[in-house]
Symmetry: C2
């Protein structure tokens, strides 16, 4: 593996010092920030998430704040999912598309108030996008990046940890709902959310100077439950069928191709970006679909920086967009972005850097 | 240092295999791609650029292609520099600004034809930006990312190497001009450009399957001149006063603050993005300016992921946005983004992670 050259183009997180103290060993970059991706024992970090509780620096999920009288209108222009019933304190998973209906991000939209929204974004530049649209349409809305940095607490024991810190009210939070509060003077927003299917919360730190303080509050409250450091888990997210925007999508992917069709409202107003294209795609039927692949062979495969060709009957039908050794299934699994005609159960071969591996398509999620 | 976790969110370059073979030891990420940043001997790599010739994988300088009847109009809407005299085969360094006059990229614009342009971009998402503007204004232009990946050949011996490959006509290429050609069947575009002040060329590979072939053609042609691998050189670019967008700029930086005022045409048409804001900023005078800092002390400082406070008379006046040990000046130098009232010669102190270091402001470039 290679080291990362320091540069102010890549910002550290408010939790950077805390993750260094925890012994972080690898990073990725995401929204021009460093995100921890490992602490030296991938299997222990996996089982901690599956069986206990894990604490993640996900400050790279930056917030694009829409604020002003036209904030709600802009949110609805950007997202082809119907937001009319979304209440203050509620979050929604939304696709963002360009004018061609191509997916350009899949954030959680948090409605803070009628005139204030956050888009808690995946890895693409939605500040530029939202500003361009707002300015071109003359909307009365300010778009900025507030001092907000999420930390995730994930796993079956997460609720006990977070309730121990904030009180039992967090047990009543519904999925994607959130509440603003303080802990030891630190302003935070507590949401039931997170990029795993093991349950848990994201605590949005609203004062970047207090990163280590908040990290250590969670760390100490988690000790009785065996908490330890982790990160958005590459294996668990594949097992659970969670999409990685930019990793599992390309410059032509639309929401229907990656199981997000249920979040598209084809009756949306014409001013919603991409809606005309999305209606056309829905009518014609998308050209690709996302399935799982179970690979043969008992040797763990190493994930790479590229997609891998998937073939059926000697002809390329799509791409393997990720791959991991599932500790629970004890086999290699991954996502397939393949021709719409492909079906679960179809036998395929995957070209792993020149080595052909047999496998079979299947439904997602794996677990 | 830390390792980089593999993910298809971060694409390798067409020269990836070649740089692995050269022994690359560190990377950064840039436009969602991996860029080599070192081969294990920073000082040797520096002197190779200063005294000989160096070969760089800069495929992360992606091309945003504007193609169609409105391509020229869109280019001029995006860039507040007058492009009316730009000819096919000519490149121009241009600021791109948002509607507030904030710098959002500083690409080289290459005019391929009246209806086809490339923006050879720095590290921000101009595909999103250009597509949003084109779609909102109803322009007839397709915006895409062609299969184009630059390799730089830089240093005083670069011209001999590139002329040895393509012929003596490259010696007559003017700065930022370019020509399409082929070498051993590989389609390339040869431009006199590059992110150093040591002279040289960028060879734009136009077939991503031929990365190793092109790398090795240059490598072999360069043997008599002592060519070796390098990268956009952190030390040389600071000595030479070259801007790193995103590293030396923040979310409020306008072109006047970072010595790009000469590339802004205040007489531009009103449809040019940001022009009204740029006129206001020019009239009021920018709030900050960019200078150099010479630091006291003979111990090389380590660059970091953050800016550092610069103070004068006990009061913060700005930020040190980069820092390097100059092998030629034998001292630490960096860029200062400071209050407009600051002057070359002013004594300052820089807070390097809690350690105060004295220094003096100076003009850029250093060399």
């Amino acid at each position: 593996m290679f080291s990362i050259a320091p540069s102010a183009r890549l910002r550290p997180s408010p939790f950077y010092a805390a993750t260094l103290a925890e012994g972080v060993t690898s990073f990725t970059t995401y929204n021009h920030m460093l995100m921890p991706t490992g602490y030296g024992d991938p299997e222990a970090e996996y089982w901690r998430l599956i069986e206990g509780v894990s604490q993640w620096d996900v400050s790279v999920e930056r917030q694009v704040e829409l604020k002003g009288p036209d904030a709600g209108r802009l949110a609805q222009i950007l997202a082809p999912r119907d937001l009319s019933a979304c209440k203050a304190g509620q979050g929604k998973y939304v696709p963002l598309c360009n004018h061609d209906g191509v997916l350009i991000n899949d954030p959680i939209l948090l409605k803070l108030d009628d005139d204030r929204y956050w888009l808690s974004i995946a890895d693409s530049n939605i500040w530029f996008w939202a500003r361009a649209i707002a300015a071109e349409r003359g909307l009365k809305v300010a778009i900025g990046e507030p001092d907000v940095s999420p930390m995730a607490v994930q796993g079956p024991m997460a609720e006990n940890v977070v309730a121990g810190i904030f009180g039992d009210w967090v047990r009543d939070l519904r999925y994607f709902w959130f509440r603003e509060t303080r802990i030891q003077g630190i302003p935070v927003t507590v949401a039931r959310s997170g990029w795993s299917k093991q349950g848990g919360f994201e605590i949005y730190l609203r004062d970047g100077r207090r990163g280590s303080d908040l990290w250590n509050i969670v760390r100490e409250a988690g000790q009785p439950f065996g908490i330890g450091p982790g990160n958005p888990n590459w294996v668990e997210r594949i097992e659970s069928g969670l999409l990685s925007f930019g990793g599992d999508t390309d410059a032509a992917t639309n929401p229907f191709e990656v199981r997000m069709g249920g979040y598209v409202d084809l009756e949306a107003a014409d001013e919603v970006i991409g809606i005309a294209a999305l209606r056309r795609i829905a009518a014609a039927g998308p050209r690709r679909r996302q399935l799982g692949v179970m690979l043969d062979g008992g040797r763990p495969e190493t994930p790479g920086f590229t997609w891998h060709d998937i073939a059926s009957g000697g002809r390329k039908i799509g791409d393997l967009t990720n791959c991991a050794w599932s500790y629970r299934l004890k086999r290699n699994i991954g996502f397939a972005l393949v021709a719409a005609s492909a079906r679960p159960g179809d036998p395929v071969t995957v070209d792993l850097a020149g080595r052909e591996v047999a496998g079979r398509l299947c439904d997602l999620p794996f677990l």
